[in-house]
Amino acid sequence: MTEGCFSCSGRCCYDIVVPVTPFDAWRIARDQLLAFEAFVEPCITPRSVEHGFRLSGQDRYSLVLRRHPIEAAACTFLAHVSEEFKRCGIYPVRPLVCRVYPFEIRGGSIDIRTDARCKPSDWDMAALDYARRGAEFARYAAEWEACRQIDAAWNAALNLAENGVDGVDHADAFRGYLAFIERVSEAFFAGAPSADRVAQWSARPALPEATAEYERWLESLQGAIGAASRA
């Protein structure tokens, strides 16, 4: 558990929509042996957001974590250890957006978000492991780029499928999208000999723009999307 989270009661796990990448969802599903539908749902995205998959109609959606079945304001994966302490029940495979919280890249470096729910005293910014945090942001940026490419491929396939068809059932389309991201993820991670491919990659110390390694990563992604699209 990271240092600023020690004394927290899970404030960031309440009343916040938690967007997940396709690879986030795949890691959780695989680790917890869960069907995607058990823990993610589609959420309409603002027009300004670059990614987003279509279902029926022209709205675009993001994957978000579902809410707790009893305490609706809480994340479904929040464990209520005590009144004082709440803890993430999938901490080792928590989504990337949770890993980087409460930080953001600002002014070329890592800083605490201005809208963070943490107390100002929770984080000692002088003692922060900037290299490790930087690697997490690199992974975060790359996986959201993967999300954009996966969604674009899905939308293109859906456009083709809809050609001459009166309409697509919303629920069927969502199940189709989930099956698609599962195929992409399986194809993408199949190349790793044993360890988690992204976990290896995430040790890189710098942001990924224009590096040879990142280019190879994107090529693998394109191959996985192509394989999943043909299936």
């Binding site: 917890q32 042996l33 869960l34 539908e37 823990f39 809410r67 479904t76 029940g89």
Partner: protein, 184 residues
């Protein structure tokens, strides 16, 4: 990610997990310190003392010649719901999962091949004979149990010699933390 054994997979996939609702989940000192130090929550906030009759080797007292207790994981109680393990994760489709994962106590790792099984709704008949996940570590389990029994015996001796000092579950938990130094 290492492949799961058949037994662990059966347990993980179980939707009901009655074992997390109906059973007291007794823990050892190793369990308590491992969980507390990883999730950064003091053990007195996620454990409870459960009265016990038998002279179990992990039964502790809080007063000289007083009633005996065993240490168990605490429970969460939502209105209108059965209380369940504080670490149980609830999903909207009715599925449940363990929020401790690899940190879960020994007694959960051994379930249901060790101990009573009437609560369990799963069919284990095809698993018990060939699954190696719980039974592959009998030596470690015995060492862990014996060490905890020694820690509890040391605590009980302190209480008996304390002359009636008012002691609490929190004091016992702090004794455990002291007996299991953090790895550096």
């Amino acid at each position: 990610m290492a492949p799961l054994s058949a037994g662990v997979e059966r347990w993980l996939r179980c939707r009901e997990k009655r074992c997390c609702f109906d059973a007291d989940i007794f823990v050892t000192g190793a369990d308590v310190t491992r969980i507390a130090r990883t999730i950064s929550v003091p053990p007195w906030l996620f454990t409870v003392p459960v009265p016990c009759d038998a002279a179990a080797d992990d039964a502790f007292v809080l007063a000289p010649a007083g009633p005996r207790y065993r240490l168990a994981l605490g429970r969460t109680h939502f209105p209108g719901e059965d209380p369940h393990c504080a670490f149980l994760v609830r999903l909207p489709d009715g599925s449940t999962r363990c929020g401790l994962g690899e940190l879960r106590p020994r007694t959960c790792r051994d379930w249901p091949l060790k101990g009573p099984t009437p609560l369990c709704t799963c069919d284990w008949s095809d698993i018990a004979g060939d699954d190696d996940s719980p039974v592959a570590e009998p030596v470690q389990r015995d060492v862990e149990r014996d060490r905890y029994a020694g820690v509890v015996a040391g605590w009980n001796a302190y209480v008996e010699a304390s002359g009636g000092e008012q002691l609490t579950h929190r004091d016992f938990c702090r004794h455990i933390l002291g007996a299991y130094p953090a790895e550096t």
